[in-house]
C-alpha cells in the first residue's frame, strides 16, 4: 500500500474513484505519475455485497442529504433522493448494469443538428466522434465490452426473449443482447458471468467491469496509487497565480487534512463535482472555483427515462440473468419527424419485488399495486433512455439551509422537463407497450422516472470559455491545472448510456495530462 506525503506537491489528486476518477487514476499510474485518490465512501468488495435490494442500496448508495426543486416528478416522488449514486470505492460502477453504446457523430453536434430549440441551451461539443473513436476502442477493450473487439455476445435470457420477439414483431431490426461490460467468457483475469441477476446491487462474482475490480487494482500494482477511502474532499485550494495547489478533505476520523497537488482531477459525479467547485469559492473566484462563466452547475441532464412493464399469461422470471443485456437501437436514429429531436434506446431491465413495489407507482398503495405484484413472475421489463435537452436553469446549486455531517451545504438539484423530453418519453412508452403487446401482453404498465442514475453536464465542455466550464480535454477554462474527469463535462447527453463515453474521455484526458506534466516536470 503506497502512501505519499500530505505536502508532496508533485502528486495528482483525483477526487472520486468511479468511472471517471478510477480510469484517470489508473491511466496516470500506468504512466508513472504519483496519484492520490480521495474517495468519500468506504472500501467494500464483492464479499460485502447483499443480494437484497434495500440492504444493498442502504449499504452503498449516497444517502447524505440532498434537496430538489422544479417540476420533474422525481422532486415529488423522491424529494430527498434526486439521484442514485454510489458512495464507495468504485463509485457507481459498482451498481451500474454495463450497457455500453457509443455516442453517434451527430450527437456531438447537437446544436447544429437540432437547431436553436426554444428553452434549451444546446451547444456543439468542441470535439467530434472521430477524435474520440480511438479512445472508444481503448475503453471497450479495457472494459471487455461484449460484441466488440472479438468479445462474444451474452446469450439471451428470459427477459430478452420476450423483448426481442416483440421487437421483431413490430418490425425493429437493430436489437441484440447489446454491447455490455460483463464477461460472457473469462477476460482480463475476471470470470464469466454466472447470470445471478444482481447487477444494481454490486456483482459478487467480479465478471462485471468496475473501477473497483479492474482499474484500481491495476493502478495499485504500479506502486503509484495511494487510495484513501472514507475521505471527503471539502475544498480545492489555489494560489495567487490562480493555480490549484491541493485539496482539503475530511478523513475517516473527522480530521481535516490538506493534500498538496500538482494537478487536481475532480470526478465526484455530476452533482458532487459542481457542488465541490461551488464550495471552493474564494476572493479570486467569488462565484465558485472555475466559474467565471457562471456555468458551473448549469445544464444538468439526466436522460429522458421511463419504464414499461409487460405482463403475460406465462412465466418470464425476468430476475434471472444479466439485468440490462438487451437493447433495441432503432429509435436511436437521427429522425426529427417523430415530434421530438434526439433519439432513445430501449433496454431490458428487471427489478425485484421490493424495488418494483416502490417504483412502479411511488407513494401509491392498494389493489392497483398489489395486482401488479401478484403477476410478478409473469412480468417483463424495459427501460427507455433518450437524449434530454440541456437547459440553463436545470441546475445544481448549494442548498440554502441543509448541510451534511461535515457542515457543508448540500446540493440542490433543480429540473424541469422540456416539452421535447415529455414528447420523447410518451413516444418511448407507446413503442415499448407495442413491443410487449406484439407478443401477447395482457397488460402493460408505465413507470415514471427513477432517481437519476445518469447525471451529466454540470461542468460542460465548450470551445469558448464563456459557454462552459472546461475545454476539449476537460481542463477548467479558468484554472490551468484543474481537470474535470467525469460525466459533468458532457456538452450534451446523447441517447446512449454515458459510462463508456466517460471512460473514453478520461482515458484521453489522462494522456493529455501526462504530456502536459512531462513538459512542466522535465
Amino acid at each position: 500500500m503506497t502512501r505519499f506525503e500530505y505536502d508532496d506537491s508533485d502528486v495528482v489528486v483525483v477526487v472520486g474513484s468511479g468511472a471517471g476518477g478510477g480510469t484517470v487514476a489508473n491511466e496516470l499510474c500506468q504512466r508513472g505519475f504519483k496519484t492520490v485518490v480521495l474517495e468519500a465512501g468506504p472500501h467494500l468488495t464483492g464479499e460485502d455485497y447483499h443480494q437484497d435490494e434495500w440492504a444493498a442500496f442502504g449499504q452503498m448508495a449516497w444517502s447524505d442529504p440532498r434537496t430538489t426543486s422544479g417540476s420533474w416528478q422525481v422532486a415529488t416522488d423522491f424529494p430527498g433522493l434526486p439521484a442514485w449514486i454510489v458512495k464507495a470505492v468504485g463509485g457507481t460502477t459498482t451498481h451500474w448494469a454495463g450497457a455500453c453504446p457509443r455516442f453517434k457523430a451527430h450527437e456531438f453536434a447537437a446544436r447544429s443538428t437540432y437547431g436553436d430549440l426554444d428553452g434549451t441551451s444546446l451547444l456543439d461539443w468542441p470535439i467530434t466522434l472521430s477524435e474520440l473513436e480511438p479512445y472508444y476502442d481503448r475503453a471497450e477493450i479495457k472494459m471487455g465490452v461484449t460484441h466488440r473487439h472479438g468479445r462474444p455476445p451474452l446469450p439471451a435470457n428470459n427477459n430478452y426473449k420476450v423483448f426481442a420477439n416483440g421487437a421483431e414483431k413490430v418490425g425493429y431490426k437493430y436489437y441484440s443482447t447489446g454491447p455490455y461490460a460483463t464477461n460472457a467468457e473469462p477476460y482480463d483475469g475476471r470470470p464469466a458471468t454466472v447470470q445471478d441477476g444482481f447487477n444494481f446491487q454490486g456483482d459478487k462474482h467480479g465478471s462485471k467491469w468496475s473501477t473497483l475490480v479492474a482499474e484500481l487494482p491495476k493502478a495499485e500494482r504500479t506502486g503509484n496509487l495511494d487510495l484513501r477511502p472514507d475521505s471527503h474532499v471539502a475544498q480545492i485550494e489555489h494560489d495567487a497565480s490562480g493555480r490549484a495547489t491541493g485539496v482539503l478533505y475530511v478523513d475517516r476520523n473527522g480530521t481535516l487534512r490538506r493534500q498538496r497537488a500538482a494537478v487536481v482531477c475532480v470526478a465526484g459525479n455530476s452533482i458532487e463535482t459542481p457542488r465541490l467547485l461551488l464550495l471552493s469559492g474564494s476572493a479570486q473566484h467569488p462565484d465558485g472555483l472555475a466559474n467565471s462563466s457562471g456555468q458551473v452547475g448549469r445544464n444538468y441532464m439526466r436522460h429522458t427515462t421511463g419504464t414499461v412493464w409487460g405482463q403475460f399469461d406465462k412465466p418470464v422470471r425476468m430476475w434471472r440473468g444479466e439485468t440490462m443485456a438487451g437493447v433495441i437501437a432503432d429509435e436511436s436514429r437521427l429522425d426529427t419527424d417523430r415530434g421530438f429531436v434526439g433519439g432513445y434506446y430501449m433496454e431490458t431491465i428487471s427489478l425485484g419485488p421490493a424495488f418494483l413495489a416502490k417504483f412502479i407507482a411511488p407513494g401509491r398503495w392498494g389493489t392497483p399495486v398489489t395486482e401488479l405484484l401478484d403477476q410478478y413472475r409473469n412480468t417483463a421489463g424495459m427501460w427507455i433512455i433518450g437524449e434530454d435537452m440541456p437547459r440553463a436553469d436545470n441546475r445544481v446549486t448549494l442548498s440554502g439551509e441543509t448541510v451534511d455531517q461535515h457542515g457543508l451545504p448540500v446540493a440542490n438539484v433543480h429540473f424541469d422537463d422540456h416539452e421535447n423530453d415529455v414528447a420523447m418519453r410518451r413516444h418511448g412508452q407507446r413503442q415499448g407497450a407495442a413491443v410487449y403487446q406484439a407478443v401477447g401482453a395482457r397488460k402493460t404498465i408505465e413507470t415514471p422516472p427513477y432517481p437519476s442514475t445518469h447525471n451529466l453536464g454540470t461542468c460542460r465542455m465548450s470551445q469558448r470559455p464563456r459557454d462552459g466550464v472546461v475545454d476539449r480535454y476537460g481542463r477548467a477554462h479558468d484554472v490551468p491545472n484543474l481537470f474535470i474527469s467525469d460525466g459533468s463535462v458532457m456538452t450534451t447527453g446523447a441517447a446512449a448510456n454515458p459510462t463508456l463515453t466517460i471512460v473514453a474521455l478520461a482515458t484521453r484526458q489522462a494522456e493529455y495530462i501526462a504530456t502536459e506534466l512531462n513538459k512542466t516536470l522535465s
Binding site: 425485484g352 389493489t367 405484484l373
Partner: protein, 146 residues
C-alpha cells in the same frame, strides 16, 4: 424498540391497516405482522411518528360503528382511502412497501427466488428457460450509426 404506548390492540389494528393497504389474498398473516412490527419499531425511534401513529389508529377506529379491525375488507379499504395523503398513512405506506416486499416469505409467494449467488447464479438454473417464444437472434449484422 417498540414503545409501551402501543397496545396489543393498536398492533392488531395496524396489522389490518397494512393488509388493507397491500391486500394480497394469497398471503398469510405473518408477513403483515412483521411489516406492522417494523412500523412500530420505527415509531419507537421517532416520537413525532409515534404520536402520528397512535392518533392515526385512533382516528381509523372512529370512522365506523365498529373498530377498524372488525370491518369487511371493502369497507376497510374505503376507510383507508379516506386517510390517503395524511402524514400517518404516508409514513406507514413508505415503511411497509419496503419491509413487506423485502420479506423472503413474500418473495416465495410471488415466485421470486431471492439471493442466487450461493447457488451458483442461474447460468445452469434456468436463466434462459422461457420456452413459449422462439429463441431470438442476439446479434445484428450492421451497426446502426445514424
Amino acid at each position: 424498540m417498540a414503545s409501551s404506548l402501543v397496545s396489543a390492540r393498536d398492533r392488531q389494528t395496524l396489522v389490518n391497516v397494512v393488509y388493507a393497504a397491500f391486500p394480497h389474498s394469497t398471503f398469510p398473516r405473518g408477513p403483515y405482522e412483521r411489516a406492522a412490527d417494523a412500523v412500530i419499531d420505527q415509531a419507537g425511534k421517532d416520537p413525532r411518528f409515534l404520536a402520528q401513529l397512535l392518533q392515526g389508529l385512533t382516528d381509523l377506529d372512529a370512522q365506523r360503528e365498529v373498530p377498524f379491525a372488525e370491518l369487511d375488507a371493502d369497507v376497510a379499504a374505503a376507510v383507508l382511502r379516506g386517510a390517503d395523503g395524511t402524514p400517518f398513512l404516508t409514513a406507514v405506506v413508505d415503511s411497509v412497501v419496503v419491509t413487506l416486499y423485502s420479506d423472503p416469505e413474500v418473495w416465495e409467494l410471488l415466485g421470486y427466488e431471492g439471493p442466487s449467488y450461493e447457488q451458483g447464479g442461474y447460468v445452469d438454473r434456468g436463466f434462459d428457460d422461457l420456452d413459449w417464444l422462439p429463441d431470438p437472434k442476439i446479434e445484428h449484422d450492421e451497426e446502426m450509426t445514424a
